[in-house]
Subunit: 213 residues, 2 copies
Amino acid sequence: MRVGELSKRSGVPVPTIKYYLREGLLPAGVLTSPNQAHYDESHLRRLRLVRALVDVGELSISAVRDALAAIDSSEQTMHKKLGMVQEAITTVPNTPIDERSVQEVKDFLARHGRHEDVDAEHWEISRMLTAVLSAARSLGHDRFHEQLEPYMAALEMIAKADLDYMLGRAKSVDDLVESMVVGTILGDAALIALRRMAHAVESERRAKEEDQV
Amino acid sequence: MRVGELSKRSGVPVPTIKYYLREGLLPAGVLTSPNQAHYDESHLRRLRLVRALVDVGELSISAVRDALAAIDSSEQTMHKKLGMVQEAITTVPNTPIDERSVQEVKDFLARHGRHEDVDAEHWEISRMLTAVLSAARSLGHDRFHEQLEPYMAALEMIAKADLDYMLGRAKSVDDLVESMVVGTILGDAALIALRRMAHAVESERRAKEEDQV
DNA sequence: CGATAGTAGAGAGTGCCGCTATCCACTTTG
DNA sequence: CAAAGTGGATAGCGGCACTCTCTACTATCG
Protein backbone atom coordinates (compact mmCIF):
# COMPACT_ATOMS: atom_id res chain seq x y z
CA MET A 1 0.00 0.00 0.00
CA ARG A 2 1.04 3.62 -0.34
CA VAL A 3 1.14 6.28 2.26
CA GLY A 4 -2.45 7.40 1.70
CA GLU A 5 -3.84 4.01 2.50
CA LEU A 6 -1.53 3.63 5.47
CA SER A 7 -2.92 6.91 6.70
CA LYS A 8 -6.52 5.86 6.17
CA ARG A 9 -6.09 2.51 7.88
CA SER A 10 -4.25 3.92 10.88
CA GLY A 11 -6.08 7.19 11.26
CA VAL A 12 -2.78 9.05 11.30
CA PRO A 13 -2.49 12.04 8.90
CA VAL A 14 -0.03 11.69 6.03
CA PRO A 15 2.22 14.58 7.16
CA THR A 16 2.51 12.95 10.56
CA ILE A 17 3.53 9.66 8.99
CA LYS A 18 6.18 11.50 7.02
CA TYR A 19 7.36 13.08 10.24
CA TYR A 20 7.61 9.68 11.94
CA LEU A 21 9.59 8.41 8.95
CA ARG A 22 12.01 11.29 9.29
CA GLU A 23 12.34 10.69 13.01
CA GLY A 24 13.08 7.03 12.45
CA LEU A 25 10.00 5.77 14.29
CA LEU A 26 8.84 4.04 11.15
CA PRO A 27 11.10 2.25 8.65
CA ALA A 28 11.00 3.53 5.08
CA GLY A 29 8.83 1.71 2.56
CA VAL A 30 10.22 -0.17 -0.42
CA LEU A 31 10.88 2.25 -3.26
CA THR A 32 9.50 1.15 -6.61
CA SER A 33 10.53 4.40 -8.29
CA PRO A 34 12.14 7.62 -7.07
CA ASN A 35 8.90 8.91 -5.71
CA GLN A 36 6.85 5.83 -4.98
CA ALA A 37 7.14 3.47 -2.07
CA HIS A 38 5.18 0.49 -0.83
CA TYR A 39 4.31 -0.15 2.79
CA ASP A 40 3.01 -3.40 4.23
CA GLU A 41 1.23 -4.71 7.29
CA SER A 42 4.35 -4.46 9.40
CA HIS A 43 4.40 -0.70 8.83
CA LEU A 44 0.78 -0.44 9.82
CA ARG A 45 1.45 -2.46 12.93
CA ARG A 46 4.42 -0.36 13.88
CA LEU A 47 2.52 2.82 13.27
CA ARG A 48 -0.27 1.73 15.57
CA LEU A 49 2.30 0.84 18.19
CA VAL A 50 3.79 4.32 17.95
CA ARG A 51 0.37 5.87 18.41
CA ALA A 52 -0.39 3.70 21.41
CA LEU A 53 2.88 4.69 23.04
CA VAL A 54 2.26 8.36 22.32
CA ASP A 55 -1.46 8.52 23.11
CA VAL A 56 -1.89 6.02 25.91
CA GLY A 57 1.65 5.83 27.26
CA GLU A 58 2.23 9.55 26.84
CA LEU A 59 5.80 8.86 25.80
CA SER A 60 7.79 11.55 24.04
CA ILE A 61 8.91 10.93 20.49
CA SER A 62 12.45 10.23 21.64
CA ALA A 63 11.24 7.80 24.31
CA VAL A 64 9.27 6.01 21.63
CA ARG A 65 12.43 5.81 19.59
CA ASP A 66 14.25 4.21 22.53
CA ALA A 67 11.43 1.76 23.10
CA LEU A 68 11.45 0.73 19.46
CA ALA A 69 15.23 0.36 19.59
CA ALA A 70 14.74 -2.05 22.49
CA ILE A 71 12.22 -4.00 20.46
CA ASP A 72 14.48 -4.13 17.44
CA SER A 73 17.66 -4.97 19.32
CA SER A 74 18.89 -8.55 19.43
CA GLU A 75 19.49 -8.93 23.14
CA GLN A 76 19.58 -12.50 24.38
CA THR A 77 17.98 -13.07 27.76
CA MET A 78 14.46 -12.09 28.61
CA HIS A 79 15.80 -10.41 31.69
CA LYS A 80 18.05 -8.03 29.77
CA LYS A 81 15.32 -7.28 27.29
CA LEU A 82 12.99 -6.33 30.09
CA GLY A 83 15.69 -4.08 31.47
CA MET A 84 16.04 -2.25 28.17
CA VAL A 85 12.32 -1.86 27.81
CA GLN A 86 12.01 -0.44 31.31
CA GLU A 87 14.90 1.92 30.74
CA ALA A 88 13.30 3.26 27.59
CA ILE A 89 9.84 3.55 29.02
CA THR A 90 10.17 5.01 32.49
CA THR A 91 10.89 8.63 33.21
CA VAL A 92 12.19 9.66 36.61
CA PRO A 93 10.59 12.81 38.04
CA ASN A 94 13.10 15.59 38.38
CA THR A 95 12.56 16.56 41.97
CA PRO A 96 14.77 17.17 45.02
CA ILE A 97 15.81 14.00 46.85
CA ASP A 98 16.21 13.66 50.59
CA GLU A 99 18.43 11.17 52.33
CA ARG A 100 15.84 9.48 54.48
CA SER A 101 13.91 8.47 51.38
CA VAL A 102 17.06 7.03 49.86
CA GLN A 103 17.46 4.89 52.96
CA GLU A 104 13.84 3.82 52.93
CA VAL A 105 14.17 2.63 49.35
CA LYS A 106 17.34 0.72 50.19
CA ASP A 107 15.61 -1.00 53.06
CA PHE A 108 12.66 -1.76 50.90
CA LEU A 109 14.81 -3.27 48.19
CA ALA A 110 16.61 -5.40 50.74
CA ARG A 111 13.30 -6.77 51.92
CA HIS A 112 12.17 -7.66 48.41
CA GLY A 113 14.80 -9.74 46.74
CA ARG A 114 17.16 -7.10 45.49
CA HIS A 115 19.83 -7.20 48.19
CA GLU A 116 22.95 -8.16 46.26
CA ASP A 117 23.94 -6.95 42.86
CA VAL A 118 21.84 -3.94 42.02
CA ASP A 119 23.20 -0.55 42.93
CA ALA A 120 20.07 1.34 43.69
CA GLU A 121 21.56 4.66 42.61
CA HIS A 122 21.79 3.57 39.02
CA TRP A 123 18.59 1.66 38.69
CA GLU A 124 16.03 4.00 37.21
CA ILE A 125 13.13 2.36 38.94
CA SER A 126 14.59 2.79 42.38
CA ARG A 127 15.41 6.41 41.63
CA MET A 128 11.80 6.90 40.64
CA LEU A 129 10.62 5.40 43.89
CA THR A 130 13.01 7.61 45.82
CA ALA A 131 11.67 10.66 44.04
CA VAL A 132 8.14 9.74 44.98
CA LEU A 133 8.98 9.22 48.64
CA SER A 134 10.88 12.50 48.69
CA ALA A 135 7.95 14.35 47.20
CA ALA A 136 5.68 12.73 49.76
CA ARG A 137 7.91 13.75 52.64
CA SER A 138 8.15 17.33 51.41
CA LEU A 139 4.35 17.44 51.64
CA GLY A 140 4.37 16.16 55.18
CA HIS A 141 3.52 12.60 54.22
CA ASP A 142 6.47 11.08 56.00
CA ARG A 143 4.81 7.73 56.55
CA PHE A 144 3.91 7.25 52.94
CA HIS A 145 6.57 4.57 52.56
CA GLU A 146 4.49 2.30 54.77
CA GLN A 147 2.02 2.06 51.91
CA LEU A 148 4.68 0.33 49.85
CA GLU A 149 4.25 -2.97 51.66
CA PRO A 150 0.59 -3.56 50.85
CA TYR A 151 1.26 -2.26 47.36
CA MET A 152 4.05 -4.72 46.80
CA ALA A 153 1.99 -7.62 48.07
CA ALA A 154 -0.68 -6.83 45.53
CA LEU A 155 1.82 -6.17 42.78
CA GLU A 156 3.45 -9.54 43.10
CA MET A 157 0.18 -11.04 42.00
CA ILE A 158 -0.08 -8.58 39.17
CA ALA A 159 3.47 -9.18 38.04
CA LYS A 160 2.81 -12.90 37.79
CA ALA A 161 -0.27 -12.27 35.70
CA ASP A 162 1.71 -9.87 33.55
CA LEU A 163 4.56 -12.24 32.85
CA ASP A 164 2.15 -15.06 32.11
CA TYR A 165 0.43 -12.78 29.67
CA MET A 166 3.61 -11.59 27.98
CA LEU A 167 5.15 -15.03 27.70
CA GLY A 168 1.86 -16.62 26.77
CA ARG A 169 1.29 -14.35 23.83
CA ALA A 170 4.75 -14.36 22.33
CA LYS A 171 5.13 -16.52 19.24
CA SER A 172 8.58 -15.18 18.40
CA VAL A 173 11.37 -13.32 20.14
CA ASP A 174 10.42 -9.98 18.63
CA ASP A 175 6.89 -10.66 19.74
CA LEU A 176 8.02 -11.08 23.30
CA VAL A 177 9.68 -7.72 23.55
CA GLU A 178 6.77 -6.04 21.89
CA SER A 179 4.44 -7.70 24.36
CA MET A 180 6.60 -6.38 27.16
CA VAL A 181 6.33 -2.85 25.88
CA VAL A 182 2.62 -3.06 25.21
CA GLY A 183 1.89 -4.95 28.41
CA THR A 184 3.82 -2.48 30.48
CA ILE A 185 2.43 0.68 28.92
CA LEU A 186 -1.16 -0.42 28.57
CA GLY A 187 -0.97 -2.17 31.91
CA ASP A 188 0.11 1.06 33.59
CA ALA A 189 -2.88 2.89 32.17
CA ALA A 190 -5.26 0.06 33.01
CA LEU A 191 -3.93 -0.13 36.55
CA ILE A 192 -4.40 3.55 37.09
CA ALA A 193 -7.94 3.47 35.75
CA LEU A 194 -8.87 0.44 37.84
CA ARG A 195 -7.37 1.93 40.93
CA ARG A 196 -9.61 4.95 40.49
CA MET A 197 -12.58 2.63 40.07
CA ALA A 198 -11.67 0.66 43.13
CA HIS A 199 -11.41 3.90 45.08
CA ALA A 200 -14.87 4.92 43.96
CA VAL A 201 -16.35 1.52 44.79
CA GLU A 202 -14.69 1.35 48.17
CA SER A 203 -15.57 4.88 49.16
CA GLU A 204 -19.17 4.22 48.18
CA ARG A 205 -19.16 1.03 50.22
CA ARG A 206 -17.88 2.85 53.28
CA ALA A 207 -20.39 5.63 52.86
CA LYS A 208 -23.25 3.10 52.83
CA GLU A 209 -21.87 1.24 55.79
CA GLU A 210 -21.76 4.45 57.76
CA ASP A 211 -25.36 5.16 56.84
CA GLN A 212 -26.52 1.89 58.28
CA VAL A 213 -24.79 2.41 61.62
CA MET B 1 8.36 35.81 54.48
CA ARG B 2 8.82 37.45 51.11
CA VAL B 3 9.02 35.86 47.72
CA GLY B 4 12.78 35.37 47.84
CA GLU B 5 12.61 33.24 50.94
CA LEU B 6 9.64 31.32 49.59
CA SER B 7 11.77 30.59 46.56
CA LYS B 8 14.74 29.48 48.62
CA ARG B 9 12.71 27.22 50.86
CA SER B 10 10.82 25.58 48.02
CA GLY B 11 13.54 25.47 45.42
CA VAL B 12 11.25 27.13 42.91
CA PRO B 13 12.68 30.17 41.04
CA VAL B 14 11.08 33.53 41.81
CA PRO B 15 9.83 34.10 38.24
CA THR B 16 8.13 30.74 38.33
CA ILE B 17 6.42 31.63 41.59
CA LYS B 18 5.20 34.84 40.03
CA TYR B 19 3.92 32.83 37.10
CA TYR B 20 2.02 30.51 39.43
CA LEU B 21 0.55 33.52 41.19
CA ARG B 22 -0.66 34.89 37.89
CA GLU B 23 -2.11 31.52 36.93
CA GLY B 24 -3.96 31.30 40.19
CA LEU B 25 -2.14 28.21 41.44
CA LEU B 26 -0.95 30.10 44.46
CA PRO B 27 -2.98 32.65 46.43
CA ALA B 28 -1.50 36.14 46.63
CA GLY B 29 0.42 37.14 49.74
CA VAL B 30 -0.76 39.80 52.15
CA LEU B 31 0.23 43.22 50.84
CA THR B 32 1.94 45.44 53.39
CA SER B 33 2.56 48.16 50.85
CA PRO B 34 1.93 48.49 47.11
CA ASN B 35 4.96 46.44 46.28
CA GLN B 36 5.55 44.28 49.30
CA ALA B 37 3.74 41.14 50.26
CA HIS B 38 4.09 38.55 53.00
CA TYR B 39 3.74 34.82 52.47
CA ASP B 40 3.36 32.19 55.16
CA GLU B 41 3.70 28.45 55.66
CA SER B 42 0.46 27.77 53.85
CA HIS B 43 1.92 29.30 50.70
CA LEU B 44 5.00 27.16 51.02
CA ARG B 45 2.88 24.08 51.46
CA ARG B 46 0.73 24.89 48.49
CA LEU B 47 3.75 25.60 46.36
CA ARG B 48 5.26 22.24 47.19
CA LEU B 49 1.97 20.59 46.35
CA VAL B 50 1.96 22.29 42.96
CA ARG B 51 5.47 21.06 42.26
CA ALA B 52 4.60 17.52 43.27
CA LEU B 53 1.61 17.53 40.95
CA VAL B 54 3.69 18.93 38.11
CA ASP B 55 6.89 16.93 38.62
CA VAL B 56 5.63 13.59 39.89
CA GLY B 57 2.07 13.64 38.64
CA GLU B 58 3.01 15.24 35.33
CA LEU B 59 -0.16 17.27 35.43
CA SER B 60 -0.50 20.29 33.18
CA ILE B 61 -0.84 23.70 34.80
CA SER B 62 -4.54 23.77 34.05
CA ALA B 63 -5.04 20.29 35.51
CA VAL B 64 -3.26 21.47 38.64
CA ARG B 65 -5.64 24.40 38.77
CA ASP B 66 -8.60 22.02 38.63
CA ALA B 67 -7.13 19.79 41.31
CA LEU B 68 -6.60 22.77 43.60
CA ALA B 69 -10.14 23.94 42.93
CA ALA B 70 -11.32 20.52 44.09
CA ILE B 71 -9.28 20.88 47.24
CA ASP B 72 -10.57 24.37 47.91
CA SER B 73 -14.20 23.62 47.14
CA SER B 74 -16.64 23.02 49.95
CA GLU B 75 -18.29 19.85 48.72
CA GLN B 76 -19.97 17.78 51.40
CA THR B 77 -19.63 14.04 51.05
CA MET B 78 -16.34 12.25 50.75
CA HIS B 79 -17.72 10.45 47.74
CA LYS B 80 -18.36 13.63 45.78
CA LYS B 81 -15.01 15.05 46.75
CA LEU B 82 -13.29 11.97 45.45
CA GLY B 83 -15.23 12.34 42.22
CA MET B 84 -14.03 15.91 41.76
CA VAL B 85 -10.47 14.96 42.51
CA GLN B 86 -10.56 12.13 40.00
CA GLU B 87 -12.12 14.34 37.37
CA ALA B 88 -9.40 16.92 37.78
CA ILE B 89 -6.55 14.45 37.87
CA THR B 90 -7.22 11.90 35.17
CA THR B 91 -6.70 12.51 31.50
CA VAL B 92 -8.36 10.26 28.96
CA PRO B 93 -6.14 9.26 26.02
CA ASN B 94 -7.46 10.64 22.77
CA THR B 95 -7.52 7.50 20.70
CA PRO B 96 -10.06 5.78 18.43
CA ILE B 97 -12.62 3.65 20.29
CA ASP B 98 -14.07 0.38 19.08
CA GLU B 99 -17.41 -1.02 20.05
CA ARG B 100 -16.26 -4.34 21.40
CA SER B 101 -14.12 -2.57 23.97
CA VAL B 102 -17.08 -0.46 25.02
CA GLN B 103 -19.02 -3.64 25.64
CA GLU B 104 -16.16 -5.23 27.55
CA VAL B 105 -15.99 -2.25 29.86
CA LYS B 106 -19.74 -2.36 30.42
CA ASP B 107 -19.57 -6.03 31.32
CA PHE B 108 -16.64 -5.40 33.58
CA LEU B 109 -18.43 -2.60 35.38
CA ALA B 110 -21.48 -4.79 35.85
CA ARG B 111 -19.31 -7.41 37.48
CA HIS B 112 -17.74 -4.95 39.89
CA GLY B 113 -20.41 -3.05 41.71
CA ARG B 114 -21.26 -0.35 39.22
CA HIS B 115 -24.37 -1.83 37.64
CA GLU B 116 -27.00 0.77 38.42
CA ASP B 117 -26.57 4.48 38.34
CA VAL B 118 -23.39 5.32 36.52
CA ASP B 119 -23.60 5.88 32.79
CA ALA B 120 -20.27 4.57 31.64
CA GLU B 121 -20.08 7.00 28.71
CA HIS B 122 -19.80 9.98 30.99
CA TRP B 123 -17.56 8.58 33.64
CA GLU B 124 -14.03 9.59 32.77
CA ILE B 125 -12.49 6.54 34.33
CA SER B 126 -14.51 4.13 32.27
CA ARG B 127 -13.72 6.08 29.12
CA MET B 128 -10.07 5.78 29.97
CA LEU B 129 -10.39 2.06 30.38
CA THR B 130 -12.22 1.81 27.08
CA ALA B 131 -9.44 3.75 25.37
CA VAL B 132 -6.85 1.36 26.76
CA LEU B 133 -8.74 -1.72 25.61
CA SER B 134 -9.26 -0.19 22.18
CA ALA B 135 -5.57 0.57 21.85
CA ALA B 136 -4.78 -2.98 22.92
CA ARG B 137 -7.14 -4.44 20.36
CA SER B 138 -5.71 -2.30 17.56
CA LEU B 139 -2.34 -3.85 18.36
CA GLY B 140 -3.74 -7.35 18.14
CA HIS B 141 -4.04 -7.77 21.90
CA ASP B 142 -7.69 -8.67 21.83
CA ARG B 143 -7.57 -10.69 25.01
CA PHE B 144 -6.03 -7.94 27.04
CA HIS B 145 -9.30 -7.36 28.88
CA GLU B 146 -8.83 -10.72 30.59
CA GLN B 147 -5.99 -9.13 32.53
CA LEU B 148 -8.47 -6.82 34.16
CA GLU B 149 -9.75 -9.49 36.50
CA PRO B 150 -6.50 -10.27 38.28
CA TYR B 151 -5.73 -6.56 38.28
CA MET B 152 -8.99 -5.71 39.96
CA ALA B 153 -8.53 -8.41 42.58
CA ALA B 154 -5.19 -6.90 43.54
CA LEU B 155 -6.50 -3.36 43.36
CA GLU B 156 -9.28 -3.99 45.80
CA MET B 157 -6.62 -4.62 48.40
CA ILE B 158 -4.77 -1.52 47.36
CA ALA B 159 -7.87 0.63 47.41
CA LYS B 160 -8.59 -0.43 50.99
CA ALA B 161 -5.07 0.48 52.01
CA ASP B 162 -5.41 3.79 50.17
CA LEU B 163 -8.65 4.79 51.82
CA ASP B 164 -7.34 3.80 55.22
CA TYR B 165 -4.34 5.97 54.56
CA MET B 166 -6.30 8.96 53.33
CA LEU B 167 -8.89 8.82 56.10
CA GLY B 168 -6.29 8.00 58.71
CA ARG B 169 -4.19 11.04 57.95
CA ALA B 170 -6.89 13.64 57.66
CA LYS B 171 -7.24 15.93 60.64
CA SER B 172 -9.60 18.31 58.88
CA VAL B 173 -11.87 18.31 55.86
CA ASP B 174 -9.39 20.21 53.70
CA ASP B 175 -6.76 17.75 54.79
CA LEU B 176 -8.85 14.88 53.53
CA VAL B 177 -9.16 16.19 50.00
CA GLU B 178 -5.51 17.05 49.92
CA SER B 179 -4.69 13.55 51.05
CA MET B 180 -6.84 12.21 48.26
CA VAL B 181 -4.98 14.21 45.67
CA VAL B 182 -1.57 13.39 47.06
CA GLY B 183 -2.42 9.77 47.71
CA THR B 184 -3.79 9.31 44.24
CA ILE B 185 -0.99 11.04 42.37
CA LEU B 186 1.92 9.74 44.40
CA GLY B 187 0.24 6.37 44.65
CA ASP B 188 0.04 6.15 40.87
CA ALA B 189 3.74 6.81 40.54
CA ALA B 190 4.64 4.42 43.35
CA LEU B 191 2.45 1.74 41.86
CA ILE B 192 4.08 2.05 38.48
CA ALA B 193 7.57 1.92 39.95
CA LEU B 194 6.76 -1.08 42.10
CA ARG B 195 5.15 -2.89 39.21
CA ARG B 196 8.40 -2.49 37.26
CA MET B 197 10.30 -3.84 40.24
CA ALA B 198 7.97 -6.77 40.60
CA HIS B 199 8.43 -7.51 36.92
CA ALA B 200 12.18 -7.53 37.33
CA VAL B 201 12.05 -9.73 40.41
CA GLU B 202 9.63 -12.17 38.86
CA SER B 203 11.47 -12.42 35.56
CA GLU B 204 14.70 -13.05 37.45
CA ARG B 205 12.99 -15.73 39.49
CA ARG B 206 11.72 -17.46 36.40
CA ALA B 207 15.12 -17.29 34.72
CA LYS B 208 16.75 -19.00 37.72
CA GLU B 209 14.06 -21.63 37.89
CA GLU B 210 14.63 -22.47 34.27
CA ASP B 211 18.38 -22.78 34.90
CA GLN B 212 17.82 -25.39 37.55
CA VAL B 213 15.61 -27.54 35.36
C1' DC C 1 22.18 59.29 54.36
C1' DG C 2 23.04 57.01 50.17
C1' DA C 3 24.03 52.84 47.73
C1' DT C 4 22.57 48.30 46.86
C1' DA C 5 19.46 44.64 46.74
C1' DG C 6 14.98 43.01 46.64
C1' DT C 7 9.85 43.40 45.24
C1' DA C 8 4.92 43.49 42.95
C1' DG C 9 2.86 43.41 38.90
C1' DA C 10 2.36 42.95 34.05
C1' DG C 11 3.61 42.24 29.21
C1' DA C 12 6.72 40.39 25.98
C1' DG C 13 9.94 36.88 24.76
C1' DT C 14 12.05 32.07 24.70
C1' DG C 15 12.83 27.26 23.82
C1' DC C 16 11.07 23.02 22.98
C1' DC C 17 8.00 19.77 21.08
C1' DG C 18 4.93 17.58 17.98
C1' DC C 19 3.26 18.20 14.34
C1' DT C 20 1.63 20.95 9.58
C1' DA C 21 2.26 23.45 5.40
C1' DT C 22 4.53 24.20 1.31
C1' DC C 23 7.14 23.11 -2.59
C1' DC C 24 9.20 20.34 -6.24
C1' DA C 25 9.61 16.93 -9.54
C1' DC C 26 7.67 13.36 -10.39
C1' DT C 27 3.80 8.84 -10.85
C1' DT C 28 -0.51 6.88 -10.77
C1' DT C 29 -5.29 6.84 -11.72
C1' DG C 30 -9.66 7.79 -13.99
C1' DC D 1 -4.67 13.79 -20.94
C1' DA D 2 -5.83 16.15 -16.57
C1' DA D 3 -6.40 15.58 -11.75
C1' DA D 4 -4.94 13.52 -7.70
C1' DG D 5 -1.45 11.51 -5.09
C1' DT D 6 3.68 10.73 -3.75
C1' DG D 7 8.63 10.95 -1.74
C1' DG D 8 11.65 14.00 0.07
C1' DA D 9 13.13 18.17 2.13
C1' DT D 10 12.72 22.61 4.48
C1' DA D 11 10.22 26.00 6.79
C1' DG D 12 6.49 27.32 9.74
C1' DC D 13 3.04 26.99 13.51
C1' DG D 14 0.57 26.62 17.93
C1' DG D 15 0.74 25.42 22.60
C1' DC D 16 2.90 25.23 26.83
C1' DA D 17 5.68 26.27 30.77
C1' DC D 18 8.26 29.09 31.95
C1' DT D 19 11.77 33.32 31.86
C1' DC D 20 13.00 38.06 30.92
C1' DT D 21 12.45 42.79 31.23
C1' DC D 22 10.71 46.86 32.84
C1' DT D 23 8.75 50.33 36.14
C1' DA D 24 8.08 52.23 40.27
C1' DC D 25 8.74 51.42 44.31
C1' DT D 26 10.60 49.47 49.53
C1' DA D 27 13.97 47.34 52.67
C1' DT D 28 18.36 47.15 54.47
C1' DC D 29 23.15 47.74 55.34
C1' DG D 30 27.31 50.53 56.32
